[in-house]
């Protein structure tokens, strides 16, 4: 055992022997998180511990500081970067902290880090309320996503997740407690900006603090009224979906033959303040959805036939209209949408009134079924910049022969939020053993463009991009040092 015996025994006394282990198998299973290809950077922790309360987290962090043992926290393991980068770290697994309190009157929920979106959403839907489910999936942590960016397609109407972050209970890297927003003045999570300190931006940074600034143990998250009708699940296995009440929802798939028209239509839909979800649908994504359940081979068979048919400048929008409050509202939204579509020469087609991904599931991970592993570049910008970014990324990609992924230039996804004030551009490329080097180079080229051409990514710590983005890495390091002088909260 590499963690000092005395420290380990203290940890046992904090959580009870059942909830801490230094067995190599327990620790090895906690080595890798999702979305990160296994590498030597990811180290096997020295022990894993599962606290059940904020007090236990504080006590663990204080032990870590006393013995100078690095620690890192995680919860659902569906995360981008929370893994031990140092040997003999303490892995704090927060999934037992899964309490949910719902304040129906004041429309917020209080959740611990172990609460997955699907669990919270289920409890809310029963009450005619709703939260968002991020693109990565309903199996991810509400707390981790909300503290970070928290993007979800219904953010078109409800904003990005971090704007719904209210009171925060935060165990600082040295074990001290910081309560933010209204929580600092009273035992109430109802407001994030005050009274009291509001340092939520520090936690969010550009891509989340990834456990480098201690442990957020509880948050208040804003929730919204929703339709009273039940969203009924149907279908087995990969065919499952939610049936939406047709008097309240309507999906439209709209094809434009000029990207400019599609973008202008998107702006206009925003100005008109209609819709719950508005996004572009790259044809390759649509093909993935349609071939669901036929596996990798089935996808490629279909894509080889459909991909070449994608017309240059073709841009498909997918819009979910929402009769918030009344059926009349849906009628109004539909009329406005169809007027806008007509003005910009689009071809609208009503789609089945059901949902696979926006309310509960969000199966982004299914992209991996087409083979290899998906790697993405993401930026949060204005719609115009997202489109420009998409175009340049395509130009960069075109230089690669053979192509990294035969996508016919159609894997760049533009998903706007807040009625079009901000947009995410996410471009996916598939990595496999054969093209891993090319993909690494592609990432470098994209970052080079960001550094020199005014784009942005969510990876400002990148050595190419960071220096031109206000020396973000240096600032991040300064903040880290101020909060964590012992450098034991997820160092490395």
């Amino acid at each position: 055992m590499s963690i000092p015996r005395e420290a380990y025994q203290t940890l046992q006394s904090i959580v009870g022997p059942e909830w801490v282990s230094d067995d190599p198998a327990i620790c090895e299973a906690d080595r890798y998180c999702s979305l990160s290809s296994p590498s030597d950077e990811q180290r096997r922790p020295g022990c894993s511990i599962e606290p059940a309360s904020t007090e236990e987290v504080q006590a663990i962090v204080k032990v870590a500081n006393r013995y100078k043992i690095p620690y890192v926290c995680t919860s659902t393991f569906y995360s981008a970067g929370t893994y031990a980068r140092k040997d003999d770290s303490i892995l704090i697994d927060l999934k037992r902290m899964n309490n949910i309190e719902i304040d129906e009157k004041n429309l917020y929920a209080i959740v611990g880090p172990g609460v997955a979106f699907s669990a919270l959403q289920a409890d809310l839907l029963k009450r005619g309320l709703i939260t968002f489910v991020p693109g990565c999936g309903g199996n991810s942590s509400v707390l981790a996503n909300t503290v970070n960016m928290g993007d979800a397609p219904i953010g078109w109407r409800y904003g990005l997740g971090y704007q719904r972050l209210l009171g925060v209970e935060w165990v600082l890297p040295d074990g001290e407690m910081l309560k933010m927003g209204s929580l600092s003045m009273s035992n109430d999570y109802f407001w994030g900006e005050g009274p009291g300190p509001d340092l939520r931006g520090l936690l969010r940074g550009c891509a989340g603090h990834q456990s480098k600034l201690g442990v957020v143990t509880k948050i208040g998250v804003k929730i919204f009224p929703f339709v009273s009708e039940e969203l009924e699940p149907q279908g087995l296995a990969f065919h499952s979906h939610m049936v939406l009440p047709p008097n309240r929802f309507k999906w439209y798939n709209i094809r434009f033959y000029s990207r400019e028209d599609a973008i202008n239509a998107m702006f206009e839909i925003g100005r008109s303040e209609i819709g719950l979800v508005v996004m572009t649908v790259p044809p390759m994504f649509r093909s993935m959805a349609r071939t669901r359940g036929v596996g990798c081979g089935g996808f490629w068979e279909a894509w080889k036939e459909n991909g070449p048919k994608v017309k240059p400048n073709q841009e498909d929008l997918r819009v979910l209209l929402y009769g918030i409050g009344s059926d009349k509202r849906l009628e109004y939204e539909e009329k406005v949408l169809l007027d806008i579509v007509k003005d910009y020469g689009g071809s609208p087609r009503e789609a089945p009134c059901r949902d696979e991904t926006n309310f509960m599931a969000a199966d982004a991970i299914c992209a991996n079924v087409v083979g290899g592993r998906f790697s993405s570049e993401v930026s949060y910008e204005s719609i115009n910049q997202a489109v420009r970014y998409s175009r340049v990324v395509n130009e960069i990609t075109d230089k690669y022969k053979p192509r990294i992924l035969e996508d016919y230039g159609t894997t760049n996804w533009v998903c706007p939020y807040e009625l079009g004030y901000i947009a995410k551009m996410e471009c996916l490329r598939m990595s496999s053993v054969e093209n891993r080097d090319a993909l690494d180079k592609w990432h470098e080229d994209v970052h080079e463009f960001c550094a020199t051409g005014g784009g942005s990514t969510i990876f400002p710590e990148d050595e190419i991009f960071g220096p031109v983005w206000g020396n973000y890495p240096e600032k991040e390091a300064k903040i880290k040092k101020a909060f964590d002088p012992n450098n034991i909260s997820a160092p490395g």
Binding site: W19, I26, E28, C296, N368
Partner: protein, 420 residues
């Protein structure tokens, strides 16, 4: 058991998204019943999940990890319910369950497993051809004197160890039902254990011996259709036997039907009707072995084309389980009201008995069943009905242990009550 290259490939394909720990997200109705995996829900460490076990499989294969006490504990606590497998295949198509089964086989091969309780099962089948070590001459003692099976028939009733020795009332209910349905059926004079728990615990040599014997006996009997009312026997005859023979289910010399499939088909054909009211509100528990694990087996020699195309593979993703026949039957009984639990069909929570867990970890099995009982009680049902003797056994014990006041029936008992 997967061959090494395929085992490694499957384990490597996991992206650790943790979807394997949840029911189909679209079906989650409350945070209380929002988990799928019993070991994950009870023990919480990541090792106690498909995600953790797949990574352990890779680490063990590469020599980075041995079968430590915790790895053994997690591996043998898994009920092999397959919830993880079908959830993964909603997105990623990893053969999760086959990797876990292979990890068990590797544990046995290396002499680290199985557990003593599992070893005893193998000793028992060796000495007496049933897992209990009971006298093989008493195997058919349950047969009611008024029921006379045929000497030769197209239908063969495969009874299985649990009903032959522990739950004779369910075997009796089954043959009475077959008789009422006018089926001419026979039973094997020398039925051996199906070997279900031996397959589950990685003891493939004695399991194959059971399979060889039973397949030969079925073939020699001349029966075309094997009917069973035991979900574990159903899955073993339909899936495990062809699998160990490196064949597909369709290539086996018999067709397997669960009693619910048989009766449902008769009902659809207008040849069978329930004629007695059973006034009762019930909920149905899908046994894993009759639900998501019950799809036909398709033999496949691994062959891939880039980027990851499994050439010629037919997938088993849980959607073709025997879900509707038992429900059709319950709905056809006058006076009986069927209500669903939150987790049903391919999302059903395991009863806790499977995978050798009921044998080696009865307390954990009871805890898992207790969760199911609690879920059943939220429906307001007076009874929980299942289609497997071991489900009935462990759910019944959990209901008693929790003073739940909910009755537990096998579907054969309910069907029998519904006919004069």
């Amino acid at each position: 058991m997967l061959k090494v290259d395929e085992y490694k490939h499957q384990a490597e394909t996991c992206v650790r998204c943790s979807y394997c720990k949840f029911p189909d997200l679209n079906y989650i109705k409350s945070s209380r019943f929002s988990r799928q995996c019993p070991i994950d829900t009870r023990y919480r460490f990541n090792l106690y999940s498909a995600h953790g076990l797949l990574h352990s499989a890779l680490a063990e294969l590469s020599g980075k990890l041995e079968f430590t006490p915790k790895l053994m504990d997690a591996l043998w606590h898994c009920t092999l319910c397959g919830g993880c497998d079908t959830k993964c295949k909603r997105n990623l198509d990893v053969e999760v369950l086959q990797v876990i089964e292979t990890l068990r086989c590797r544990c046995v091969e290396q002499g680290k497993g199985p557990l003593p309780e599992h070893k005893m099962l193998a000793d028992n089948v060796k000495s007496s051809h049933n897992i209990y070590g009971a006298d093989p001459k008493e195997r058919l003692n349950w047969m009611p004197p008024d029921v006379k099976p045929a000497r030769k028939a197209d239908i063969l009733y495969f009874v299985g160890d649990p009903m032959s020795y522990r739950r004779p009332e369910l075997a009796q209910a089954t043959v009475r039902l077959l008789s009422k349905a006018g089926a001419k059926f026979m039973v094997l004079e020398d039925e051996w254990s199906s070997g279900h728990e031996l397959f589950a615990t990685g003891q493939l040599a004695p399991a194959k011996e059971m399979a060889d014997h039973n397949i030969k006996a079925i073939k020699e009997s001349g029966a075309k259709t094997v009917i069973t009312s035991d979900a574990e026997c159903y899955k073993t005859l339909k899936v495990d036997y062809p699998k160990i023979m490196e064949k597909s289910t369709e290539d086996m010399p018999y067709t397997v039907l669960h009693i619910t499939e048989y009766i449902d088909q008769l009902m659809q054909d207008g040849k069978f009707k329930f004629n007695r009211r059973v006034p009762m509100k019930v909920t149905y528990h899908d046994p894993c072995n009759l639900g998501r694990l019950a799809e036909p087996w398709y033999h496949w020699e691994p062959k891939y084309e880039p980027p990851n195309i499994a050439v010629g593979k037919t997938w088993r993703r849980g959607e073709k389980g025997v879900y509707e026949p038992p429900r059709n039957i319950l709905k056809a009984i006058r006076g009986l009201e069927l209500t669903e639990m939150e987790r049903h069909h391919d999302n059903a929570w395991c009863c806790g008995y499977g995978g050798g867990v009921g044998t080696a970890f009865p307390d954990f099995a009871l805890w898992t069943a207790g969760e199911r009982i609690e879920e059943a009680m939220t429906t307001g049902a007076e009874a929980i009905v299942s289609s497997c003797p071991n489900c009935k056994d462990i759910l019944g014990r959990a209901a008693d242990a929790n003073n739940a006041g909910i009755k537990v029936y096998d579907i054969t008992e309910v069907m029998l009550r519904a006919i004069r």
